[in-house]
């Protein structure tokens, strides 16, 4: 299980994260952020593999990825 979190106020809606997400779970939200962009957001977080493709691709360092590791 992984969680991706977006610093929404920093997203410029460029959609690059969307392009690279293998699970296709990122979309642009309907609302605008303060800069006037539709921010990216994950719709089905449980499908996220924590591959961090999105974060690696994001030019604005909007995304943080945390993975829940199985207790050893």
């Amino acid at each position: 299980m992984a969680t991706v979190s977006f610093r929404e106020e920093r997203c410029k809606g460029c959609e690059l994260c969307i392009t690279v997400c293998p699970e296709k779970i990122i979309v642009l939200a309907d609302h605008f952020n303060a800069m006037g962009f539709h921010p990216a957001t994950v719709v089905e977080m449980d499908k996220c593999k924590g591959c961090a493709m999105c974060a690696r691709m994001c030019p604005d360092v909007v995304i943080e990825v945390v993975k829940e590791e199985k207790q050893a």
Binding site: V20, P59, E64, K67, E68
Partner: protein, 249 residues
């Protein structure tokens, strides 16, 4: 247990980038910062940013920074490195900055084997000033100063920086990478790391040419821009390591 897979590197300040949506300058910044973090050299690094869209990079890198005159970053970096030989010094330069007005400075920093690392962002255009032709603008590419497309007789052919600098004996490490998809981003990071390691080892001048997008001035969406880069720039500017000292291979 929660493990952070990916987070903002420490070598970036928390300041928001001013870049256009989808501009890959941001990715390249992050890679440099990640390398600085991973090598543990933040305390010991000095960066030099150019005149170009990345002129404000001094606000983003969380290290001591210089803003250099257009094209002169390698000279400024030389001034720093020669006074403080044990610091890690890098320049971050665009293609107008490095390959046009700053040609003499980069050639001679390389020839001197100046122990600095240069991150060269080739986006085939002058971003900052409104999309004029850069030395790296592709044949046929439309820009505000080649409104009908770059044409050989009027505006010549592109400068291939990595190839050119590789002819200099003082240049120790030269590589061309791209950031148009995650796989290439990883490769780019490796090259950047190597370029810092070459400096650390005192082996000479190191440069990584990073193919980058300018959606705004290319008149493309960020997505289209990545595609354009892959389909047009990479064939013209082949990726790869052009020069590498035996010591770090």
């Amino acid at each position: 247990m929660a493990k952070v897979i990916f987070k903002r590197p420490e070598a970036l300040t928390d300041k928001q980038f001013h870049y256009c949506p989808g501009c890959t300058h941001g990715i390249i910044h992050r890679l440099v910062a990640e390398v600085i973090d991973e090598m543990g050299i933040r305390d010991n690094t000095v960066g030099v940013c150019p005149v170009g869209c990345s002129v404000f990079a001094y606000d983003y890198f969380n290290v001591d920074m210089f803003q250099a005159a257009h094209g002169r970053a390698p000279a400024v970096a030389t001034g720093i490195k020669r006074t403080l030989p044990d610091r890690m010094v890098f320049t971050y330069q665009g293609d107008g900055d490095l390959a046009s007005i700053g040609t003499a400075e980069i050639v001679h920093a390389a020839a001197r084997g100046e122990k600095i690392t240069t991150i060269f962002v080739n986006n085939a255009v002058y971003g900052m000033t409104g999309g004029q032709m850069a030395p790296t603008t592709l044949p046929g590419q439309k820009t505000t100063t080649t409104p009908k497309g770059r044409e050989k007789d009027a505006a010549g052919l592109p400068v291939k920086v990595s190839e050119m600098l590789s002819t200099l004996d003082g240049a120790a490490y030269i590589a061309r990478v791209s950031v148009h998809d995650p796989k290439h981003i990883l490769q780019a990071k490796k090259a950047i790391r190597k370029a810092f390691e070459v400096q650390q080892a005192g082996l000479g001048f190191a440069l990584v040419e990073v193919l980058s997008t300018c959606p705004t001035n290319w008149g493309l969406s960020p997505k289209e821009a990545l595609k354009w880069l892959a389909e047009n720039m990479i064939p013209y500017y082949p990726l790869g390591v052009y020069k590498e000292p035996a010591e770090v291979k």
